[in-house]
Amino acid sequence: MLECREITKVYGRKTAVDHVSFEIRPGRIYAMLGPNGSGKTTLMKMAVGLVKPNSGGFYYKDQPVGQESRKEIAYMSTEPYFYPWMTAKDVGRYYADFFEDFSPERYESLLERMELTPDMKTKSLSSGMMAKLKIAVTMARSAKVYLLDEPLNGIDLLARDEIMASIIEAARPDVALVISSHLVDELERMVDTAIFIKNSHLAAVWDVESLRVQEGKSVADKYREIYGHGEGQSC
């Protein structure tokens, strides 16, 4: 459904993404794993056209990503980006204006679950509240692909449960979710497939259950294996 083909992005002398190819299929939840700077965020941004690749590209339903694909792909960035003059309600209206799949009712209910109110001003939100607002507005869409960059970062434990619940609720046979996160342990139970990005390359793609069955490893174990200095190393 969403495919990246030999995609490369270079910033000056630094290669952020180096000839990465993988496919995101519907009906699955993916974890995109890797340390900071490995290229995960750049990959997601290229999938929605915020960043333009140097070569290769992302294709949604076989078409290059762009205006049309953004109708069905929802992206949540790590950085805050709402206009400072907006309230939570304004943000909802903005999304309703531009995204046909946005549900104001769902947004209201998510705001409540995250203990946010519609009249809160974006410029006065703490980082935790901002993170929750971003999730709320993204998950209130009924997209076909969700790209969530560190959705659990900076979020208190209770709100994390709500966020994970809303992610699971969004999972459908025709929907794919890609979650990039450091919290490997927390993600493991929710995820079908783990994509490991290392040093701007695609290191491995593992189906979570297969990993347990074939190698007797959890995703966290595999993570340590790939990024650590060998098997059995603990952080």
Binding site: L50, F82, Y83
Partner: protein, 247 residues
Amino acid sequence: MLKLMKYEFRKTMFSKMILVAITGIFEIVYLIGVFAKKENLLAIGMMGLVFCAMIGIFCIGIESLSIFQKDLNTKQSYMLFLTPTNSYQVLGAKVIENGISIFLAGAFFAAVAAADITVGVLYIGGVKQFLDLLEQLMISIRVDINISAQDALIVFFAGLTSWLLTIVTADLAIVLSATVFAGKRFSGFVSFVLFILFDIVIGKLLDLLPSLDSTVMTYSMYICVAFVITVIMYLITGWIMERKLSV
């Protein structure tokens, strides 16, 4: 694109309200001057209103560019670029919203001026100098209108085209700078330098246009050429935004 324009307008609403507020203050000063027959207040009010009109319209134009600069160089860009719109629509919405704002501002100040002059004339019937002055003003305006109604229209369109060209040139400069220097501090400075450069080049280009028989013809040709250049630059800017710009 209407939705984009709606939000472009909302981005500038605050400063437009400030402008209206300041205009209001000077208007009150002027009216007090008229009704209380205090010449100095009247003069201050009038000058203030003219000042508001000129600086205000200029600021509206500049603000659109400054917002564009911010939209491309900060994370606020996500608001625009995550939507299912293309860069041509985004750019077009900004230019059109700015045009409408300037037109409305111009109309607003013209209406205020007309009303103020009428009030002044009607109320200060006794102050002969003022009346004479205004009469002279009215006459000269009337005379201008009588002689060159057609010219006035052409001048208006030339002004509009010239403004469009300037805005799109500036937008191109901003986009180019943002594409190369995404987010860096001096991106604004570079856009400004690029704009001046483009402006000079385009100015030289337009200077090459020969002078035709009548002013109407000359101006018409200028309008057509400028318009074509504007469209070309709009398309180039849109293309760069769509294909090359990373935010």
